[in-house]
Symmetry: C2
């Protein structure tokens, strides 16, 4: 049987995967609620032009081998359904399943005997075998066994998506043995390095562990950074030599952890174990979240100290580097945006600059744009340097 | 001027370094309060026969190029003083400076103009430039500048000491510039890969960061282990695939963190920042200590569950693996010893076994020895397997 794919969710993770599968010779139906993205893809126009390599694939396959639509009905020819929609947090840091449920129920409506559904969205533990399975069964009238269901976590790094797809191991686990084996065979057809694990829940947790490892270790790096400053030690010097030790991997400090992945996944696990009455298992994760989220306040205080050092009462402060990480143009989930808001709340005269953005990108946030050379105090949010242009040289490090 | 070394502290870290320096052609005076060690060294007998490579060096140089003594006065010919004595914790987890102070004051009594003192003992932040400097100045009547003072953290791994000395970078930092530069030149004469850092405090903190990194990451591994068990996931399978990601380094779970290094160093930093009113900077470290120390209770509960599963009222439980880590014969600081004590407190009929020990090694602890094959329930403290010999196969993982 020929494989026909559909990808539900044409965001920054889903569209590259859809285009990548198309580039391997398969027909792919891409489904998204966003009509602008769908229209662009069908016209061969890349909606995420800052993702290297994506424009080429969308222009070659968009509207041809890769057909986008806002309606799940247009995916009914597919026999492999990949779900890769956002799963974020609500205001109480509980997982917000709305997009995943809607997309999964849509898949259920066109699901046929023998079809494979793979969840690539990073999800709370056991979501694939519990919620996703029940949504699919409810909508399709089928039962597991009629269809196959697996989890395969996307490990995408925005800005390096195709490098990851080409080189990173891809983990696949089924909610039953047949699902795992079938999903493994399907993924082998377009991904080089596929690893079958014993269950969907192992595949899910593998990804959650990666995210939590990073959040905890970034928190530790932020603590080390603040400690070394208290002790009059250069953090970067100490880190370089500590990391000589081949078993030591101290990460870099920051303004916190941004984006929609690392700061979100710990909460999936925290909430799961809180609901089981096991807060003892997640206190370290909660503390790490608190440290990382608290870095915005730390840097606001540091900047205020430098501003107060001068004798000018009207100090122009510029935050240079606004995206959630260097090299991308993504503002949502950025802790640097939060920092600017904090500085504005403190009554400072704050401006922003980011070499990957243009002034109109920040208008919606109500931020003012300024070239750093025209500011009195510049905070480089990526190098963590505070530069006081009113005096020679750089303060802080 | 010819260099003549002295090493204060001929323990598991100091004696290998003393022997190593002797093997590079230098005269070394080794000073220790333990007369048995001193006598053995002078007779060419290795007091730590489980340390690979050490017997050969002690037998070749002991009593000859390496002369041991219980009196600091016998080190007065030296012009380089290396201090490498234990620095542990008191009952309130405060650093216990008694040995370091005694050794340093002894060095001070024979210190001469132009001599170099290097602290290799891992110490709380700023100890070298504050306490050690003042003890030396008080006893010698000299002031810094008359003598040189530096810190160079030992990075020894028991059981692999000479591998570390040969291959690991050695960090050296002075309390002033001249001290750093002189210590660097001296260490270059017997260590291949020496790195000069800008200060003694950087050298000190480098080592503390390594230990804290490991303690926090072992705590995280222990949490992941307990979480995966709750979720019905094989920890080792999930870890293998999470660690595929080149930026993920999830460590292994355990019965806690033993020995005299990793569980101790976090307290040096915790107490330092508590005394500065900065508990906010060390909560993650405290939580990690609590998790790792709590693993003894976790495993005691797990073992009790298995014991209670059988219908035998008189169950022989054997803890296999008693040393603080696999492959060594060191019981002090072992969490496995604590585990046995906990099981005894719970009223179980507990025995012990360790392939690197003999029954008489555990008599002082009041433990009973038993071959695991004769026990009903065996807990392998290194592989974390609980084997119920009353039924076929192994429970737990």
């Amino acid at each position: 049987m020929d494989l026909v794919f559909s990808v539900f969710g044409l965001g920054r993770a889903g569209l590259p995967i859809a285009a990548y599968i198309a580039s391997k010779g398969f027909k792919v139906f891409g489904i998204d609620v966003n009509k602008s993205i769908v229209d662009k893809v069908n016209s061969g126009v890349n909606p995420f032009p800052d993702e290297p390599g994506l424009s080429e694939l969308v222009s070659r396959y968009g509207g041809d081998r890769l057909v986008a639509s806002t309606s799940y009905k247009d995916a009914s020819e597919a026999n492999v359904y990949i779900i890769i929609v956002p799963l974020g947090l609500d205001e109480d840091n509980n997982p917000d399943f709305r997009f995943l449920e809607a997309a999964t129920r849509d898949v259920g409506k066109v699901l046929k005997k023998g079809d494979l559904v793979v969840v690539e969205t990073t999800v709370p533990p056991l979501t694939t075998e519990n919620l996703v399975r029940s949504w699919l069964e409810e909508e399709s009238g089928l039962v597991l066994g009629d269809f196959y269901l697996a989890h395969s976590p996307e490990r995408i790094i925005t800005g390096r998506v195709f490098e990851v797809l080409e080189t990173y191991p891809k983990v696949v686990g089924g909610v039953d043995e047949a699902s795992g084996e079938y999903a493994y065979r399907v993924y082998k057809m377009f991904i080089g390095d596929v690893h079958l694990v014993s269950s969907a829940r192992v595949a899910e947790f593998t990804k959650l562990m990666e995210g939590i490892y990073r959040d905890v270790n970034i928190a530790l790096a932020n603590l080390f950074y603040m400690m070394t400053r208290e002790l009059g030690i250069d953090f970067y010097e100490a880190r370089t030599h500590a990391n000589h030790h081949k078993h030591t991997h101290i990460l870099l400090p920051s303004t916190g952890v941004g984006g929609h992945c690392i700061p979100v996944y710990p909460w999936f696990v925290i909430k799961e174990f809180m609901s089981r009455g096991r807060e003892d298992l997640v206190r370290l994760l909660l503390e790490s979240r608190e440290i990382n989220d608290g870095m915005v306040d730390y840097w606001a205080r540091r900047i205020l100290e430098v501003v107060g050092n001068g004798d000018d009462n009207d100090v122009k402060v510029c935050v240079k580097g606004l995206a959630f990480k260097p090299g991308v143009a993504i503002l949502s989930g950025s802790r640097n945006v939060e920092l600017v808001k904090r500085l504005l709340e403190m009554g400072l005269d704050v401006y922003v600059y980011d070499e990957n953005l243009v002034p109109s990108d920040v208008e919606g946030l109500g931020f003012k744009w300024l070239d750093p050379s025209e500011a009195d105090v510049v905070f480089d949010a990526f190098s963590l340097k505070i530069i006081d242009n009113r005096v020679r040289g750089s303060l802080g490090s």
